[in-house]
Amino acid sequence: MSKTRTLTYRDAIREALREAMQRDDRVFLMGEDVGRYGGAYACSKGLLEEFGEARIRDAPLSESGFTGAGIGAALGGMRPIVEIMTVNFSLLALDQIVNTAATLRHMSGGQFSVPIVIRMATGAGRQLAAQHSHSLECWFAHVPGLRVVAPATVADARGMLWTALQDPDPVIIFEHATLYNEEGEIAAEGEFSCDLDKAAISRSGRDVSLITYSGSLSKTLDAAQRLAEDGIDCEVIDLRSLRPLDDATIMKSVNKTTRAVIVDEGWRSGSLAGEISARIVEQAFYSLDAPIERVCSEEVPIPYPSHLEKAATPQVESIVAAVRKTLRT
């Protein structure tokens, strides 16, 4: 078990998909271009050949239709994995996700659960401009009846899917578009599935708590590294689960460090970072030695040119600056 191997986030997802299909014949993958094309981000490349068209199911361009069909299939005893190419396109499926998947169990008085897993790419960083670069995780994290996770590491990309499939309720998995090519180490073999509930301490430290998730984790770790060179000892929390939030891990850290910086690629106003800040104030107010800082995206539809896209989203420099600011007070 101490043997490890290196693979990309994309390959981790593919491996997880493959394993899920092998382990449970109720599992199938459905979405635009998941089959012949191999997936918009190539996550399902090769799976069509292995599992056939019924289980690697190319859907027509109809986000509401096939997401709703996934919900129905889940009700009907299957374990669908629905892939929506990009969170922007999920706006076309929100009626089904929010008005149906998230409410059905409650509206039916507990008779029907909806064991669907919906995966989608999110985030900026690939110069795809204003209709392909949103980060709307906070919208989903607002909705009772959904569980929302954001694997930021290769290990989580590999491990969360199977656990999500065991969940009797709808699980949304956000994959940051800049992560697919990232490499990471995981165990060579064994059971990879992991919990969906707990935040992880990605780096422990005493001076300030940096709370983040998804595509911002590596930037935050880089910032922590840079600050370490100046003797500033950052604790970095990878939320992993966006709904429910793991308050205990957050508060434990903030109670220790007394300072918090939240890094979130969502637009600042109404961001998940705001929710986390509010919770810290509610649960750890008297520990705080400084105002909580938020490093979020600027209030602008993501622009195409690289320099503006970078300026619009959290970067190592802006994280470092926010940490310094919270320490100055």
């Binding site: 299957m78 008005n99 039916s108």
Partner: protein, 336 residues
Amino acid sequence: MATGNETKVHLAREHALELLQQMILIRRFEEKCAELYSAEKIRGFLHLYIGEEANAVGVMQALGPDDAIVATYREHGHALARGLPAGEIMAEMFGKASGSSRGRGGSMHIFDARHRFYGGNAIVGGGLPLAVGLALADKMQGNNRVTCCFFGEGAAAEGEFHEALNLASLWDLPVLFICENNGYAMGTALERSESNPDISQHAAAYSIASEAVDGMNVVEVEAAARRAVDAIRAGKGPWFLENKTYRFRAHSMFDAELYRDKAEVEKWKKIGPVIRFSEWLLETGMIHQTDIDSIEREVAQTIDDAVAFAEQAPWEPVEDLTRDVMTPPAREEVRP
């Protein structure tokens, strides 16, 4: 009640009485609902099915217990025709814990797992993709089951309608689409919402077999539904029925009905499903007035019982407010 796969309807006396009984049950049940709405026992939105009873009753004859139903916010009739206990439906509308959906849903959200009754959907068109998915699950699991999806003609303008029809046909899924065309979506007449008001042509555009049916004639509806279900079970993919019908009451209890003439309503009432069927049965001598009287008595009793059940049913305790949002861990399935 007639069972089996025959397409021809055996209008045996017993079956005729059954059909009539079900339609009268729905009619009287809903008249009671209207009364209870005025008495503020039932709240929220209440959409009555009065005038359209032949559709739910006729179609349900063709379905077996393993088949699935997806309906709309106007679904009391479908729930009753499907055999859901009247008391539980009534308790649901009272918002009581003994209701079909523990009172959480109310009139628009009646569910029943035992009867594979998947609601109760208050998003116009929202049930169609769901039905497609249920049918997809059946197909993938090799179940020879049908999913029957009811919706109004107003839904045909929604994108979800089209996406669902395309998927059902493309993947050859066992869905029976029942468009209950009552001529209006709230106050909007079909001609004012569809550039081509011939709804079944949309089915054709997706290569789905379709039929237009007199939705005021329970026998015709049953026959058409049997033909459709037979075809679907034979693996011929989805089927589409457009049932031409009419609602005698307002859209909901808030509707001032400014958009249609009283005369039009009266005209349709004359060919109402209950009056027409019972008169015809009386004329042919298949049944007698005493049969109707005894149905009315039975139905009245059923409704009294239902109301009594709802009245005495408990309220969900406030402490349980957030139950049934997520599945509790204990109930989690372990597999494989």
